[in-house]
Symmetry: C2
Subunit: 273 residues, 2 copies
Amino acid sequence: MAVRDRIAAGLAHGEIDTRDGESVRRGTVALVGAGPGDPELITVRGRRLLAAATVVVVDRLAPGLLLDELAPDVEVVDASKIPYGPQATQDEINRILVDRARAGAFVVRLKGGDPFVFGRGGEELQACAEAGVPVTVVPGVTSAIAAPAAAGIPVTHRGVVHEFVVVSGHVAPDDPASLVDWAGLGRMRGTVCVLMGLRNLPAIAAALISNGRDPGTPAAVVQDGATDRQRVVRARLDRIAGAATEAGVRAPGVVVIGEVVDVLPAIGPVTSW
Amino acid sequence: MAVRDRIAAGLAHGEIDTRDGESVRRGTVALVGAGPGDPELITVRGRRLLAAATVVVVDRLAPGLLLDELAPDVEVVDASKIPYGPQATQDEINRILVDRARAGAFVVRLKGGDPFVFGRGGEELQACAEAGVPVTVVPGVTSAIAAPAAAGIPVTHRGVVHEFVVVSGHVAPDDPASLVDWAGLGRMRGTVCVLMGLRNLPAIAAALISNGRDPGTPAAVVQDGATDRQRVVRARLDRIAGAATEAGVRAPGVVVIGEVVDVLPAIGPVTSW
């Protein structure tokens, strides 16, 4: 079977499989987005598949409380504890997904946020498909939208902004390996949501400003968004990095930049609830 | 109480309210994202609040199957049937939310996708806060990410693209009322996801190309994504509008443009499953 047909079969299989009231089929993999942090923000389907899993391969960012619900005989693999380098680690995760499924498991790969938003879900889907393992994808609520929302910041707002961009800040703007068009982002006036950007925030803010974004643009950092540890720091774009450092903000955090930060009445400079 | 404090109280109230095992408090409003179409892609919290609602104000795009689960004494208000013009309609929806809550209802405003992604959730949150009605927001899976995912298209892919932009295509690019920076979007090389853009797709594709996007960029239209009516049409950017028309694609549909469209093995030019 061609790889494209295997993916089609896998997606269709997952789709049908989760509808007919039967338990999910062993020997398959589901890539499930766990949402932004609150264990109740997983989808109904995601939670149902999780409850049926015989193996769960979990990320650091997936809510730990979801794992407490698992039956005691479920094997939980903590992907964040796999050593080696970044690509070796991903290869190892891919190998675990494929091997466990081939051994007859129903494997749920539980990922923070959405599997396809910087989640490397595409690589895992491809690895399963190439190995002939049926695979399905269950999308999740992305923290790029939900963390600002939990702080009262809508990423779009009628009459103010009708576009938002989501970027990874993991690689510094001046790093030749960066795939993000920071110059282009500096010129646009839409909302910019940066994931994994706390460490590089000074360079990111500087890159946006030097490429034309108004230094006075409202900005916010939402740490641990949509959890009971949530903290919000608000400042102008040219001061947000300093304000975040001063407040001792730590990862995981979402940076949101744009007029929308101020469009609703603020809930305070640093609010915990 | 200042509006900012009312919002803080409302958000905090909703947050606490849904955690303590008590039924949700009457006299409040929850803005709930229903997800991209499949009734199982609502969040666990969203479904729980929906089950506790005494009034549900529903959009055309929210999955109808979710309403079948409601108790018979729940009042369902179909917002898509409210006449008048666009702003008058929104004012009327805001009035219904506030009035029902003040009368003691627990009101769920059920919206397709996410409340803050072109969902006018910000306006509704503001209306509730200004009226002193506690309001909470439950984010949803946005079809901007989930419809491509259901077609096997990841909006980001390691080593290929680390940014994606989500825009509304509701207003044509050459309309002075457009708030979208189509020129800027044409110059960037990230993934572009267009919601509500089917009618304007010829003009949108032309605007991107005339501003520098490669006419050979892979593109796809996903109609009724993440439902059993899903259809996918794939073509180069300069041919996608024609291909969609030829295939008879109808709203709702998500347009996705970028290298990611071809990054995983395709599931076919038009696939229904």
